[in-house]
Symmetry: C2
Subunit: 277 residues, 2 copies
């Protein structure tokens, strides 16, 4: 129940129609008695700079969730960002510090990594292939690096995109062996589809499935269906898998912590979410 004590999180993007965060956070806030609300704010690119700065002059803003098309452009508007933001090249959460600075972090990859750790996957020193070096692939690579993987292989249909991500990783994580070029999944502890392949019926699989080992853990970012064709094929080869929506729910606790609220488990959040709405 919104009243004069309610805080808000501005959920900035355009278009807003597919936003999911309000239906996850708001039922959770209600269920635990946090007087706050996530409100979608449809914001076109030309309006974004002015809107972001003005919103953070309000007294009851707790933070902002930043989504497309502002995840990249927001980075240059902030006073401080994490290494994850620098590697990912994008930011999806902003808060204001007590002294008025705007601080940004990036939790897409963090959600993915928390999901893996929760499933018992050991990431420290592990080898991972991330296919797709766009926004979400870069975010996952950044969070895998922060989680201490030993080897990171990157592949993108645009080689220069993967090479640019590799360069950022080498700058911020010089101890990690970063490779680019091949999408051969053989021999990795972890293989991640961070491409849109699987969104549409008839999409090819993102890697050569015949080269996938049964001991490899396979993760997916596509949320189109509970189990994509890629995940089903991986399971058929004996692989353990993580579905796309796990990333979504596992990143929420990280956001709650970032915004200074008590954390909650992804299971709790999933139980109260009303995504069917």
């Amino acid at each position: 129940m919104i009243n004069g004590h309610t805080e808000f999180i501005a959920h900035l993007g355009w278009p807003t129609h597919s936003f999911k965060a309000p239906m996850i956070y708001n039922p959770y806030f209600e269920s635990v008695g946090i007087n706050a609300v996530v409100l979608p704010m449809g914001c076109k690119p030309e309006a974004f700079t002015g809107v972001l700065r003005s919103l953070f002059t309000l007294e009851n803003i707790r933070g902002a969730l930043i989504t497309m098309p502002h995840k990249v452009s927001v980075v240059d508007l902030l006073d401080e960002v994490t290494p994850t933001v620098k590697v990912a090249g994008s930011c999806n959460a902003v808060k204001r510090t007590a002294d008025g600075r705007l601080v940004g972090d990036m939790f897409d990859g963090e959600g993915f990594v928390r999901g893996l750790l929760g499933k018992g996957l050991a990431l420290r020193g592990a080898s991972a292939l991330v296919v797709g070096s766009g926004g979400v692939g870069s975010a996952i690579a950044a969070s895998l690096a922060a989680a201490g993987v030993g080897t990171l292989a990157l592949h993108d249909v645009h080689a220069s995109t993967a090479d640019a991500l590799a360069a950022r990783l080498r700058t911020h994580y010089p101890a990690i062996a970063v490779q680019t070029g091949s999408s051969d999944p053989a021999g990795f502890d972890l293989v991640v589809n961070a491409t849109p392949l699987g969104m549409n019926p008839g999409d090819p699989l993102p890697v050569d499935i015949d080269r996938l080992d049964g001991r490899t853990f396979v993760g997916e970012v596509v949320m189109k269906s509970e189990k994509t064709a890629f995940l089903r094929a991986a399971e058929a080869r004996g692989c353990r898998v993580q579905v796309g929506t796990d990333m979504l729910f596992e990143m929420i606790p990280a956001y709650l912590e970032f915004f200074g609220w008590p954390t909650a488990s992804a299971d709790t959040l999933r139980a109260v979410a009303r995504l069917e709405y």
Copy 2:
């Protein structure tokens, strides 16, 4: 349930703690299936200009409710205002037209007048004394003028405030007989307390109650208790009365119409409101 299709009304003021509009509008929206929400936004004076302009660059803003301390300063930021705003010298509702202009209106007095009309009081040609020429007194005087009263007497402890309001009324409504100076309630069809007297225990009554005729209708803006001491004294002399919260509920239909939603009766709004929260 807020989702990616939700529109919002920015409720701008500072402090926000006593805001009542969210607990009136939001339960109403929910009860009739309007996907919109009124959100309090705590805004200090130095931030207001930037915030107002930026918010109206958002795609899903339906309008803004403006309250203290911005009701006066907002007027100069708008492209178009009604005569009621010009006489009242303040504005509490802003919307954006299709061609991008910001238009303001003022409904405090409109709520008061709708309440009177709903109680069967004939205002056209009537004589009214409004005690208190501050924000709400000016708004009520402006709406009484728009409703066609014949005589308006104004009194304020600061004579120059009443004189300034009188001058604005004479400019916009030259046909109305505007008087200032006396607070003698004798002989008026309507007497309005638009001062804060009644907010605190032991406050003196706003007019000399012994001079109040039983045929006079008495209205009140103080919402501190259901019936203020002034209203109780007026009733004891046989007067019909209007309580402070009537103004609040009667103005909401006017806002709904202004923002382009289907209207509702004050009784409907009162039935679903959760002001006890």
